[in-house]
Chain length 116, copies 2
């Protein structure tokens, strides 16, 4: 029942919310930052860098991968995760559009019907 009403919103709103949710945990923010900074993007290295168990990191990686924000390629024994910079760029533009809409929108002042 919990997310029952999600479908009632526009696809655009849902998409933004989905990506926001992916970034809604410091571990996932840290993972993306780490991948951006590192050349080596081997799963084990990521887990070693974060204050979380390998299992938990793996789960966060799966979550990011589910949204295609990162890609994982099997290289024999290890799996190599990379940022999907193209999609990240798209998402950035989407967020920018949203924030511009929000920051340049009508602000109700004392001259409006609403008194705040």
């Amino acid at each position: 029942m919990t997310y029952a009403k999600t479908a009632a919103f526009t696809e655009e709103q849902q998409q933004l919310a989905r990506v926001a949710k992916a970034l809604a945990h410091p571990a996932r923010v840290a993972i993306i930052q780490f991948l951006a900074a590192q050349k080596t993007c081997i799963s084990g290295d990521i887990a070693a860098e974060l204050p979380l168990s390998r299992t938990t990191v793996s789960q966060h990686l799966q979550e990011l991968k589910a949204l295609d924000l990162i890609r994982g390629e099997i290289d024999g024994l290890t799996v190599c995760y990379c940022l999907n910079t193209e999609l990240l760029h798209q998402v950035h533009q989407q967020f920018t559009a949203f924030f511009l809409e929000a920051t340049t929108g009508a602000v109700c002042g004392p001259d409006e019907a609403c008194a705040c």
Copy 2:
């Protein structure tokens, strides 16, 4: 236990995650868009516009207000909610910095140790 490890990340990562979480529900995205588009920002009007009960909308409003993304001012009988455009602008810059870091960061290609 669930959020036990949050404190292990940087304040910057936590801040980004906090805001992302606020946007991680289409209802809250919709509320911000509605406030941006409307002059009248009366609580009841927002609830009437969304496919959710007044109670639920009120809760989402409280959540946004807790992060100071919106402000509420009591005007006699009604409460008037406005966007905190200044904070939204700051948040926008924060997200932009993050996305730039992510999209311009090192991408591991075939010339790297990692083969993806």
